[in-house]
Amino acid sequence: MNTSSTPVSEKPAAESVFVTSAWSRTVTQPIAIAVTITALFVGIISVASGIAPEHPWFSLGPLFFVIALEGIYTTLWLHHPDRWVLEQTKYRAAEFLFLILVLRLVVWIITKQPLPDLDTISLYLGAPLTFFADRFFLAASFLAYLCWAAAIHIGSIFAQLAISVIEATYYAQPIHERMVWADNKPATLNRGSLVQDFFRWWLWSGILLIICVGLSTIELSTFMSQLNLLAVTHLGLQPALLGAMISYFLAGFWLISQGRLEVLNARWLISGVHKTNIVERRWQRNSLFVLLAVALVAAFLPIGSTLPISRLLNLIVGFFLYIVNLIFFLISLLVGLILSLLAALMPSRKAPTETAEPPPSLQKFIEQPPTPLATDSIASLFFSSLFWAVFIFIAVSAILFYIQERGYQINGRSLQQIWAAIKQWLQMMWLGVNTQVAELRHTVRQRRQRKETADTSPKPPWRFIRVNALSPREQIRYFYLSIVRRASDKGVIRHQSETPLEYIDTLKQNWPEEQTELDQLTQAFLHARYSPQNVEKSQAATIKNTWKRVKATIRKSREP
């Protein structure tokens, strides 16, 4: 039996025990939050992928992870008291603009668009909105915004949940001494409701994820065309979605456990409870252990659809859907009948005697080119230039603001340093490329010399092949290649690009009396060469006879 004794005099300092550890606050929690949010958005983009499969939606997953992580870290950074004077709305706007620019670049890369040529650039310059008018980019921007907003929301919850040094120091004072520190009294926070907020968000997002996963497994085209629940075609679940669901639920549970720990920590701190370091350590260990153990045990449980109750429920659900479909059918039938009855009862209108003048063709208007005005083009150029100037100014200012507030100074000197670093990197790259090219050139030269030497050198000595020692497959290949060689010797050369089936025509033309044998030999060769099935000995023996006959015929023939 282990015994741990905690004498009153040996209590650790309250400040160090209750303050949320830097590792947890800045590493594990942000990563877990980012994983949860990314998993949710993987579910959403799986649906988007089903709707518009031509776009590389799943390539956005890593970017969403980075956006979520960035949002959380910026939230933590802004939560520090030193940054309370900063204009947070402006900073957030700059941050989002920066993320959108990065997203534009990433979308460009993942959609494998070519570098814009002069025409495209002039189009962008003339009509700036075309630069952004990419449906995939717009959809990705919207999702990125949602992802970023979710990261800020959850990051803010956990930043508030964490116990700060100021809070711990204040509550570590005896109650009668807290009066002296009254000015530094931390704001009262209802951490329980914060955890509840996260819990609710996680639950509803989990439901959304499940719905998205469910939708991603339905073939939407059949569903939209038939509108029959029973006739829905189910697709398999994608591995990315499996990973997303597991990650979402496990990381979410772990975050709930972290939130719970923070709530308890705050309660213990305020009520003057002495806490030992071991509680925090074991909490992390136990929560991980419970989650992994439950996940492992769940993996060994029988899958729901194999359970008898599942079959029964399936039957019930099927019956229910059948009834719904039947009712729907009957109602639509009834409505149709009523409508047709009404149509029959209504007096029929006389057909117009005069043929109406056909409406003006739309094509006519389209084909009419707008009268070009010189002033329009100048105005368009002016506005587009103005737009780009303002956009570039805002983008550069936002990036500078975003980066400089984080402590990275950008001035002439730092730019020179960056330029020098880039130059050095390019030089190194150039040097490396030059070296590799030289090596490649040397290798190619050596190979060419070796080939030339091989061509001029005498043919390798004749090698005896014992045909019976070969496997049936090898024997057949040998028979065919032997015929090809003998035919080549007689002047019927097989070109490198010729397939056996093409070459057989040439052979048949030269030796028409052996057409059947040549066919047999070629088919046998193709079978031996490309078929995974076994080649029997008897088959090889048959082909051997064919080969002998063809060989004899070729030998007898004269050179053409």
């Binding site: 004794s5 709930i256 659809s305 659900v317």
Partner: protein, 430 residues
């Protein structure tokens, strides 16, 4: 909570409808976490045990170590356990136990704290509150209590050397100068024969040797079989200093009893005060003061309607020995002054069962005429009463003289220094 159950139901419904086996897995994970929280935690908490180790009797001024032991008998760990020991503010010597710890499988945690026995009384130690919950907040906090235990703090005892009280009982163990009570078991020497000496007292061997009649002399001795009677009828004390003088009376009584027991004399104790423990059938009925932690007498309707005599502590008959002293001290630790019955009314009944000649130390607030007459009646009955008054009395000489005339001794012990007379040698005291 209901939202989480809703999620599980939703997961299962989606899994059934869409025939997605993997969602069953997610549902299993959610159910597993839920079941773990709802099923394991209460069971693990039920197997959590707590014990308290301490000496349940303490002398005044003593520091008592209290050790709490919490044991997790589960084969799996408990992520957190909060241990809170409820201790009255006045008893605390250092910070109270309000700790949170984590217990591994079959681990025991120990917490130690100290209390100071600064005032006599019957104190409640505890209860110890144990609380725990799950890791995910899916279960309300589980709480349990280890029942309280009780500490008796004896009243302060002033060590005495000689009381010098007179006794009517011969053949005791205390040497006396009252010749009447010569103890044949204590030969002191011989003297010349005088007319009227009993022939049985002649020391024949010594007489033969000295060729003259010599008589044996014995050391005189008395037995101080004593009953200490403490008046705790509240109205008998002056209103302003009631609390101080009733406590002082208890200290005097305890000091006298302890000294007499040290002298191997039988001592009994009687008081018209209230023992709050009497009449309380269950521990749950006991009421303790939140600040001091002491046992309080309940002023309920039951107490008001019942006769006051029923709440008076029963008499402890004279016995000797340390165990008997502890019994008297325990009573003195708990006893409280209350409006019960006046000393003059109560004394004759209290002394009914005492044996003849016993010394009765009557400790009361002051020596009023009624009290003196009561003591006089005891003298006439054959007892040996001694009056000890506690409150300062400007007419003490009158009281003293009245007592002397009525045949008993009176002392005014109003402060600790007045007990010095009982620390002096016997000869000077008398």
């Amino acid at each position: 909570m209901s939202q989480f159950t809703g999620l599980i139901i939703f997961l299962i419904a989606v899994a059934f409808l869409l025939r997605l086996d993997f969602i069953f897995y997610i549902a299993y994970v959610c159910m597993g976490v839920y079941a773990w929280s709802r099923w394991y935690t209460p069971r693990a908490f039920a197997r959590l045990s707590g014990e308290r180790f301490f000496s349940n009797h303490a002398f005044w001024g003593e520091v008592v170590d209290i050790k709490l032991r919490v044991h997790n008998a589960n084969p799996l760990p408990l992520p957190w356990v909060q241990v809170s020991e409820s201790i009255a503010v006045e008893l605390r010597l250092n910070q109270q136990i309000n700790d949170v710890t984590s217990l591994a499988k079959r681990e025991t945690a120990e917490f130690t704290y100290q209390i100071k026995a600064a005032r006599r009384g019957y104190y409640k130690i505890g209860p110890m509150r144990l609380a725990t919950s799950d890791l995910f907040g899916l279960l309300p906090e589980q709480q349990g209590y280890i029942p309280p235990e009780y500490l008796t703090v004896y009243p302060r005892i002033t060590p005495l050397s000689q009381l010098g009280l007179p006794s009517h009982l011969p053949f005791g163990t205390i040497a006396s100068n009252q010749r009447l009570f010569a103890d044949p078991a204590r030969p002191m020497g011989v003297r010349e024969y005088r007319s009227g000496d009993s022939l049985r007292q002649i020391h024949w061997k010594a007489s033969a040797h000295a060729r003259d009649l010599l008589v044996k002399t014995q050391e005189p001795a008395i037995s101080l079989e004593t009953a200490v009677i403490l008046n705790l009828h509240l109205p008998d004390y002056s209103h302003r200093d009631r609390r101080y003088y009733t406590e002082w009376g208890i200290e005097v009584a305890a000091s006298l009893a302890a000294h007499l027991i040290d002298q191997r004399q039988p001592v009994g104790f009687m008081s018209n005060g209230i023992d709050p423990l009497i009449g309380q059938s269950a521990a749950a009925e006991l009421v303790f003061d939140d600040t001091s932690g002491r046992l309080l007498h309940q002023h309920n309707e039951k107490a008001a309607t019942a006769t006051r005599h029923s709440f008076i502590s029963p008499p402890i008959p004279p016995r000797n020995g340390r165990t008997h002293l502890m019994k008297i001290l325990e009573r003195l630790a708990r006893i409280e002054a209350e409006e019960t019955v006046t000393l003059a009314e109560w004394l004759p009944t209290a002394c009914l069962h005492l044996s003849w000649g016993i010394t009765i130390l009557v400790i009361t607030a002051h020596g009023s005429e009624a009290v003196c007459h009561s003591l006089h009646r005891l003298v006439r009955t054959g007892f040996n009463p001694v009056l000890i008054t506690l409150e300062p009395d400007y007419n003490w000489n009158v009281v003293y003289e009245r007592a002397r005339q009525l045949g008993f001794i009176a002392y005014n012990i109003k402060r600790p220094q007045d007990m010095d007379r009982w620390r002096r040698p016997l000869q000077t005291a008398l």
